[in-house]
Structures are given as C-alpha cells and as structure tokens.
Symmetry: C2
Subunit: 307 residues, 2 copies
C-alpha cells in the first residue's frame, strides 16, 4: 500500500490528503434543497447531500492529490443511510484513482477487531461467498488496548495490500493529558511511536517505508521531530494543518531528508473553501468544486516551501 501512496505523492508532487468531513452547514444550499425536496428533512437527505457534495469535491481535485480521508463519524451519525453514503464516497473516490484513508479510529480486540478488519480492509465471508464492504485502502486505529487491537488487521494488510495509521500523538489541545505522560524517561506517545515503528517493520515496502503508519498531529512540531528520529520508516498522517492552526513552516520536521515520510491532511480548509476568504469572493456557492481546487493548489504551493 505505502509504495502506491508514495508513487502518487511523487507523481503529483503533492503530499496532501483532503479530509471528506462534511457537515450540513458546510453543504451548498442547492445540494441540500435538492435532497430535502426528494427525501424531506431527514437523515436520508443529509446522507444523500453528503454524497453529492463529496462527488463534486472529488471531481474538482482528484487529479491534484494522492488521497482523501473520509471521517466515518460524520456519516455514521445518520445511521444506515449515512454508512451507505460513506461506502459510496469511498467507491467514488477509488473510481477516480484516489487512495482512501478511512478515518475510523476503531479500537477493539480479538474477533471484534477481526470483524472491523474484514469489513473495512478485507472481505466478509457469508458461508462460501465473500464480499468487499467498505473498501478503504488504509484505516486509522487507536492503540490504547495494545497489540491485541492491532494484530488482527496485520494479516489483512499483507493479504489485501492495505495499510494502517495508528494514533500516536493527536492534534487536539488536550492530547497531552494521556499521551504526554512521563514513563521512565520518555513520554507515552514516544513509547507508542516505538511500538508502531516495530509493528511496522514487517511491512516495509520498496521505498523504505512501512504500510503501518502513524497519526502525528501538525500542532506538535517539536514532538514530531523527536518521533521522526525514532520512527524512521513510519509514514506520518498529519492532521491539524489549516483549520487547527498549523502552517507549512510547522511541518518541516515531519518529513525525512528524502522529502517523504508525511502526508498532510486538510479538511474544512479545502472542502468549505467556497465559504471562506479569499475564495468566497472569487467563487459562487455553486462553484464549491472550483473553490476546493483553488484551495488545493494554494496548499500545494504552501507545502512546496518545505522542499
């Protein structure tokens, strides 16, 4: 999986992943109205509007970026219809050649973790039949339960050419409450980082990086530099650029000297660009797709400063 991601990053000269985290107040009115007219003001309408919006965003940016990251919570809240919109979004993005990072942050063990693994990055078996359900290329996981909560996914990474990004140091203000606790001369997130590096060593591809990556928030540049030095073959998925306050300058330490090692996520900064300066005055609401494209190009230019 990781070689596929690196190839696309290099081809496009762009280490950007766009977060598909729609919410109703970010969806242009014409899309919402169409859905409400068809389905009423219902969870079904919200789910249909999300899918329609995502298709527009994907169409606008799919030739510029290697990957998208749908956040399943936004869809799951609407029940079965929401989950279907998530699945349809994944399928649409893959049809457009994008790598899909499912931001699911699941944490469970044994047969429960196997069920998540089968559904999201493997195949579910119904007697002698088997089905691909969610179809993500890689998913995020939470490590608090230890290796038992990671191991059930590893076989699927091998067998189906998939990957993981495991939470190490998250971008939120209170991430330190648990992750920064001191354990024998190091921080908990450093220890977890070492575990992730070790778990990933059996999954290193042709370019020296592992398909088992880590989530390291853009809001912690110093900690990231430390992690970069101990997690040499681990790819970082970096949330927090843009809306959460991090800038390109903060991101230098997330990359290795080869210019690889990190993929930077922006969500609202791209998908809701049409509603924000400077794009708001340049694009109509109906042109949200073009505004997203412009925002991706600006982000690419911003990130180029790093190389």
């Amino acid at each position: 999986m990781i070689d596929m991601l690196i190839k696309k990053i290099e081809e496009l000269q762009n280490p950007t992943v766009v977060g598909l985290d729609p919410r109703l107040n970010l969806i242009p009115s014409h899309i919402k109205e169409e859905a409400y007219n068809l389905y009423g003001k219902t969870p079904r309408a919200a789910a249909k509007a999300f899918l329609q919006f995502n298709k527009g965003i994907i169409d606008g940016i799919c030739d510029l970026i290697p990957a998208v990251k749908p956040q399943i919570a936004m869809y799951e809240q609407y029940g079965a219809e929401g989950i279907q919109a998530y699945i349809d979004t994944v399928e649409y993005a893959k049809g457009k050649g994008l790598i899909v990072i499912g931001d699911i942050k699941r944490s469970d063990i044994a047969s429960t973790a196997e069920a998540y693994a089968d559904g999201h990055i493997g195949r579910v078996k119904i007697e002698e039949e088997s089905y691909v359900v969610y179809r993500e290329d890689t998913i995020t996981l939470n490590p608090y339960l230890g290796y038992d909560s990671i191991e059930p996914y590893l076989g699927h990474c091998k067998n189906y050419n998939k990957g993981l990004f495991i939470l190490v140091k998250t971008s939120n203000p209170n991430s330190g409450e648990i992750q920064d606790l001191n354990i024998g001369g190091e921080k908990l997130y450093e220890r977890v980082g070492k575990m992730v590096q070790q778990w990933g060593e059996a999954f290193i591809g042709a370019r020296g990086y592992s398909s088992i990556g880590a989530v390291v928030g853009a809001t912690h540049p110093q900690q990231a530099e430390k992690l970069r030095s101990i997690m040499t073959s681990t790819y970082f998925l970096v949330p927090g650029y843009g809306a959460q306050g991090a800038t390109a300058e903060d991101l230098k330490g997330y990359f290795n000297k080869d210019g690889l090692g990190a993929i930077i996520n922006s969500s609202r900064g791209i998908i809701a660009a049409y509603s924000k300066a400077p794009y708001k005055s340049l694009y109509k609401e109906e042109e949200f797709s073009l505004a997203a494209r412009a925002a991706v190009l600006d982000m690419k230019e911003d990130l180029q400063k790093l190389f």
Copy 2:
C-alpha cells in the same frame, strides 16, 4: 441513567449484562437458512439473521437481566444493512424494557465526537427537524485522546439522561502493554481511572454512583481492587467473565460494600449456550432462546455467591 440501571439491577437481583455479539457460526441453522433463502448468501442476509437471532435471545432473557450490550463491530462489518440490524436490535431491546449499552469504543474529538454523540446518545439535527438514530442508553469510549474526546458527550449525558463507560483497564492479554506503563509511581490505567472518576463527579445520581462509568476487565482482579478504592463512585462495566476465563470468585473486588458498583458482561457464554455443555444436551438448536435463559439463570446463581 445510572439510577435507572441500579434500580433494575436491584429489582432483578442480577448485575448481568448480556453481550449481543453474534457471528454467523453461532447462529442456529434454521435462522441462517431462512435468511439465505430470502436474500441469498449476502451481507444483507447476515444482518437479517443477526436481528432475528437477537430477538430470540432478548425474548428469552429480557425479564431476568437489566441490560444488553450489542457490539457494533459485528454489525458494522456488513455495511449499511448491518448498521440497520444494530439499530433495530437496540430498538427491540429497549421495547422489552432493557437498558442498552452500545459497545462502540469510539475515540475522536471536537465536531467529530459531536457527530458520534448526536447519533448515538443524542439527536441529529436536519435544519429545524431532529431525529434519534441509534438510541443507546450508554456507550463505551476510548480515552487515549484525552478529555477532548469525552467532553462532547457529557452535555448529552445531562440533557438526554444518558451515560458512558470509558475504557480504563481492558480484559485482553496485551492490555498491559500501554495501560500498565508506570507513570510517576502509578500505572497508566490508575491515572486514567482517576480522570474518569473526576470527569464523572458532576454526574452522580441518587445512589451515589456516576453515569460516567469505566470498563475494567474481569481478568485483572488485583488491579480492579485498586481501581475500586480510587474510583469510589464509578460504576464498572466488566467484560471477560466466562469465555475469557474469569470466574465469580475473581469478581468480588469489583463491587463496593453496598453490593453495587459493577455490572458483569457475558456474551458467547449466554448467546451461544445452546452449542455448549451443559446446555447442548438439554436444548435443541431451535431452542437457543431457552438455552440462553438457562445460562443466564446459572450465571445469576454463580454471581449470587458474591453477596
């Protein structure tokens, strides 16, 4: 929420929660065959079979236990149809008077956590309309991201009379890998336990317990005794009895002197009782509901030894 749970535990003299974690190889053939005849060997058939099976289990035991705990992974793996079976299971259980603990172990922050909170224990808003989607009474959460990943749920606990069970010390063999790390004279799980106790103090009900509970695995009786002493008003949800090897004797330290403070989960030991000794020789596969009832009564008798 917690007062409602305690009232039911006392009325029924039974601190048992039954885990509704179906998997196809535990479902009686007649249910599977019916679903396959209607829908083929598809994820839809699996989801329909799960719901049918759960209804049988719930009918057999709903007058004996206070709560059930469906594990969402088992349903989520089958996509939208699976999620619908989960939602329908929650609704059916609530219709039979059971408290529902949604075992979702979500971990996310800010608007993402709000989306989970709205969907699972609140209401999702579509313009001026709002809907209840999943309808659980309480859900499990993973604390690795800190208070940011808990806080968005707390308002809903207050406004909708709901609860949480936050992972503190899990029952799996490798739970210690991260949870048992030493941080300044105590273990990480003890520190997390203190946080949960503190987060819960604003949610203490009439009986002195908080609606913000903790998950403490049955496989760690010594650690539980320590946690019991520092988490005096926190209710423990205790997985690991039965299939994972813990016995009633291991559970004494999970309870307070008032005989309250813990609810003990059994999943396969109850729902698949029909397939295991001693019930297998007493009940036909079609009588899985009666076998589950017998297993619940045996578990109740076993737990009575503690009081």
